[in-house]
Amino acid sequence: MTPLAGFLLVAALLFSIGLAGALTRRNAILVLIGIELMLNAANLNLIAFWRYGPHPELLTGMMFAIFSIAVAAAEAAVGLGLVIQIYRHAHTTELDKMNRMKG
């Protein structure tokens, strides 16, 4: 197995773990943690392809990963702000109990 395939397999495993977390947990914060793990797995793929790809001097994969990290940070800030506001409103962070959109 080439090193790139190893990195891609680890990234696929991390992505699946994050997906399982996002789909199975009841706490909204844990779902956000799962989404963060999935974004991280994508970043690992980008960096691995940059390292073993044919034109690393163009820095394309590196730039993609840096911009993706910035977007993930923005997503985490907004998501956790939403969770805090929903907790203030409904006094729960359990997704099963958030079953109406009307305030």
Partner: protein, 166 residues
């Protein structure tokens, strides 16, 4: 497949597994930090020093702290008595196992055609800065606007509304 890669991959995957499986939410956040650190070390292993340190600063320094704050502000550290998994956890596990099976099959099928460049490429901070200020200056500006908008939006969303404040 070096020894360092195996250790770092095991650390990252174990951290990720613990982050989604532990019952106590604070422990989950700590395990998430371990996964982030393992991934930063994987970036260093790949020769991407700048991305590794950005990962440490942004994820361990900011996102993990933000998650801990959110957990403590929402009393999420109290383990619920009726289980931490949703009713449909079997379907969720099956879907993610299927996704991993498809991804792993695709990777193993194409393993022989994947590109392989032996020498480690260099990506100094100077090169990255030149690329950010030259070829990628428009995405950089857009990401700056996005971050500003997201931070203002997060503050407005989480701001406490005062009663009768008109």
């Amino acid at each position: 497949m070096s020894f360092a890669f195996c250790v770092l991959a095991a650390l990252t995957v174990a951290g990720g597994l613990a982050a989604v499986m532990l019952k106590n939410t604070v422990h989950c956040a700590l395990a998430l930090t371990v996964a982030f650190a393992g991934q930063a070390l994987l970036f260093l292993e790949l020769g991407a020093q700048f991305a590794g340190f950005v990962q440490v600063l942004v994820y361990i320094g900011a996102v993990a702290i933000l998650v801990v704050f959110a957990i403590l502000l929402t009393r999420g550290s109290e383990t619920p008595t009726d289980g931490v998994y949703s009713r449909y956890w079997i379907q969720g596990v099956l879907i993610s196992a299927g996704v991993f099976a498809v991804l792993g099959w695709a990777i193993l099928q194409s393993a022989s055609q994947l590109p392989h460049v032996a020498q480690t490429p260099t990506a100094t901070v100077l090169q990255i800065g030149n690329a950010l200020m030259g070829r990628y200056v428009l995405p950089l500006e857009i990401i700056a606007v996005l971050l500003t908008a997201a931070l203002i939006g997060a503050v407005i969303i989480a701001m406490h509304e005062k009663e009768g404040a008109e």
